[in-house]
Symmetry: C2
Subunit: 324 residues, 2 copies
């Protein structure tokens, strides 16, 4: 017997067609969408004649907990982390597709909230153009994002050159502080950084802006600054020297003080903020929200990232999903 319409309505009470019929209208169509959801595949305009594509998973219990935030937050975050990867190539997002694995007891209201969050994360111009649903034991949100380079060269991780300025746009360490507070049951004490974890706001426009300004390398900081700067350094064959005094802002300092945490360690190792890390030739004026946080140095054996010229005092672990 179905319980239709009540707040306790579950995914198992609907068939797939009914669920899609309620989910799909909440999603944006997108400016570049020629054929939207409902056929075997969607068709998006790719005016640049190249397409940027990236995919990212959110798994319940690993990337989110339903009791930490709303379904809207999870949807926003699923969109944001993929859109940040598109921006980090110097491209503008054009569309998303979404695979959802839903335990049958998932509340329908939660799934509709997720759709609202995806829509909020995409904004009015990026379409959610397709998807797939399946039952499963745990909740998984699998998003793939497409983007258009608009004639720009893609900005890779491998182009940084000695004497380039290292710059960052976005938040550093906020999400990690927020996650630490959630895990400690102290979210109410540091609300702003908890919001930053639940609702990352990548500086999406700064990706194409960095490309236009002449960025030599560009990367989304999703796994922690040390780890992601290390990737950029390795790909470019250089050393990245970070300036400690530039990494901790007032919000992070206050949250860290409340939590008794080391703010510099949070800024260096905290993931999930989805800021953009770029390198620029030294003579350039930094575009958008980019602020200088260091300098590119010549390669040195065994060294990828230094802080004020010395090996960092914290380990560059960042996120690893398989090891405990």
């Amino acid at each position: 017997v179905s319980q239709v319409g009540g707040s306790s309505e579950r995914v198992a009470d609907l068939d797939e067609t009914e669920l899609i019929a309620r989910f799909a209208p909440l999603l944006p169509f997108g400016d570049r969408t020629q054929i939207g959801p409902g056929d075997d595949a969607a068709v998006l305009a790719a005016p640049d004649a190249r397409v940027v594509v990236t995919t990212d998973l959110l798994v319940e219990g690993h990337h989110f907990r339903r009791d930490w935030g709303s379904a809207i937050d999870v949807g926003r975050r699923a969109a944001a982390q993929n859109l940040a990867d598109v921006a980090a190539m110097g491209a503008s997002a054009t569309g998303l597709v979404v695979g959802l694995v839903l335990p049958p007891q998932t509340e329908v209201a939660w799934v509709l909230g997720l759709a609202e969050g995806l829509a909020a994360g995409c904004g009015p111009h990026v379409g959610v153009v397709g998807g797939d649903l399946s039952a499963g034991e745990s909740l998984v949100v699998a998003v793939t994002a497409l983007g258009d380079l608009g004639g720009r060269r893609p900005v890779l991780r491998s182009g940084a050159r000695p004497s380039d300025v290292v710059a960052h746009s976005g938040r550093l360490g906020w999400a990690a502080a927020g996650l630490a507070a959630l895990e400690a049951g102290r979210a109410a004490e540091v609300g702003e950084v908890v919001g930053a974890f639940l609702r990352p706001e990548p500086p999406l426009a700064d990706g194409p802006a960095a490309a236009d300004a002449g960025a030599t390398a560009l990367l989304d900081v999703s796994d922690g600054l040390l780890r992601d700067a290390g990737r950029l350094a390795a790909a470019s064959g250089v050393v990245i020297d970070l300036t400690a005094a530039t990494l901790v802002d007032a919000t992070l300092a206050a949250a860290a003080a409340t939590l008794g945490a080391d703010p510099l360690a949070l800024a260096l190792t905290g993931g999930e903020d989805h800021g953009l890390l770029a390198t620029f030739p030294p003579e350039l004026r930094l575009p958008g929200g980019f602020r200088p946080i260091g300098r590119v140095l010549e390669a040195a054996a065994g060294t990828r990232v230094t802080v004020d010229g010395a090996p960092p005092a914290v380990a560059a672990r960042g996120w690893d999903h398989f090891r405990a």
Copy 2:
């Protein structure tokens, strides 16, 4: 303590970077790949200036069981079902991205087999250009496929017109017979159809061929012929009349006899074969592997699909992932 190199090596014994370093080299780069895996996103050529995109999930316990077939089979199937959706628009696939949710106790050998299967399913020209890995409670393979229309108009579900020929390319009912045999523990008795379930072979080239020949509507048959023909009929505002005598081939008839099943019911309701259902103007010569299986009729209230002019004797349920 890691168990490195042995047959019992598990995902939890490696970190994400190590696992990717072993997985990625097994995957095809692709003819259209400009920037492959390893940066924030991949870049694929989209010479048509439009891109076709579709996504499909395989969830362990719902779409596959590890004791039914090899990891290679699962990889091939994950690729095949997505490539079939691209073909069903009249497009040629250019690349895939893959999200993998892996329980930490998954054998590394299984994951590498999955990569081999993805490579086999893609062939040498379609790249696997990106992905994401996460730990999770159950195994999920989330594939997104991109394709290029090569100047063709996309062939939708909505273009069928009365008097068109209904045609099908590929297998009908084989996968359902194979699945029934696996569930009954009788796979050894009907090997060929079990292989068809584990290793679908969609007639990918027949998608663009149908578009070039002037197909008025085109659809991947993944959820059963009655259900998918019903979708085509609904989208086009017509009735599809199927000819029963054309639907059961010798392989299906033999397997159904062995299993004591109704072959016509398997052909009408069995999913997962990923054949292509098309409609063509009556004067056209059918391209590729298409065979006539029915006729498009004028819309009739309350009717979408008939068999030999009458309502089908079996229900058009097909697959539904949420209801028991």
